[in-house]
Amino acid sequence: MIDGAPLSWEEVARTHGRKIYNFAYRLTGNPDDAKDLAQDVLLRVERGLANYTPGSFEGWLWRITRNAFLDDVRRKKRRPTSSLPDDLDRTDLISTPAPDEVLASIRLGDDVQKALLCLPYDFREAVVLCDVVGLSYDEIALAVAAPVGTVRSRIHRGRKMMREALS
């Protein structure tokens, strides 16, 4: 039961799968790692749902996602890649703006992604959870097991680092 309503694994995958994948992509910077991570997260969610106790579902879900990512990093004994692959499949984009807008968006998106990957993990995670996933500060605090004040500081400093990296 989640927020009083039953939620199956399939429903979690359908309603949160895209967010999980986008979080994974922005954190890792490449589609292969993002796919592996999203799959790992969904499998952990399947196993964890049986023991889920009603509370902040978002906090629970993103804690699982974060742990999966950190476990993956430890396994690989390396930091995520710092550049986008050349063969990035842009057909995954949901919106279909005009071609010139697409080109501008890709260049801009690549720059932002590269800048994002330059951030230390804690700051990258905070800004991605806030600006990409759209979580509140309270939800982020639950997900990363840190006080709200720390989250506020990480988001602020992370954005400042982004601006510096892009300028």
Binding site: K35, L42, I94, S105, V112, R159
Partner: protein, 137 residues
């Protein structure tokens, strides 16, 4: 308050208390440095929020068994070939099962039986290879 600091980002996200927001607005009115920082933060935040949203690859759902793996259309003709082969096999087996038991009969007896069946049924499929030539009566 000296300068806004992290309160600026929290304000942009609607994560300040009413008291903090009031202090921030009052400070912004008299501090050009914080006005510029606020503009920079707003720009950086907008860039992050304008990143394209990616669709989760369908292969993830397929590999996790969340959707059935549909057989591509191009493979369907092979399915018909298989079905046709199966139908032929069933026909042959059925014809064999319903064919007269000729094992152990002489050629004359087999010939006589076939002539009788041909007259009654209008023809049957002869089963080749089951006649023991030279078998004793």
């Amino acid at each position: 308050m000296i300068h806004l600091g992290e309160l600026a980002s929290a304000y942009l996200d609607g994560e300040t208390t009413p008291q903090e927001a009031a202090k921030l607005v009052a400070h912004l009115g008299r501090c050009q440095l914080c006005q510029r920082e606020m503009e920079d933060l707003h720009a950086g935040r907008s860039l992050l929020r304008s990143l394209p949203v990616l669709e989760m690859p369908e292969s993830i759902r397929v590999e996790l068994g969340l959707v059935p793996n549909v057989v591509p259309l191009v493979r369907r003709p092979l399915t018909w070939v298989g079905a046709a082969a199966a139908a032929i096999m069933i026909f042959v087996v059925a014809a064999t099962a319903t064919a007269p038991d000729t094992v152990g009969l002489s050629l004359r007896e087999v010939s006589t039986r076939y002539e009788q069946q041909t007259l009654v049924e209008g023809g049957v499929i002869p089963v080749v290879g089951v006649v023991q030539v030279g078998g004793g009566e």
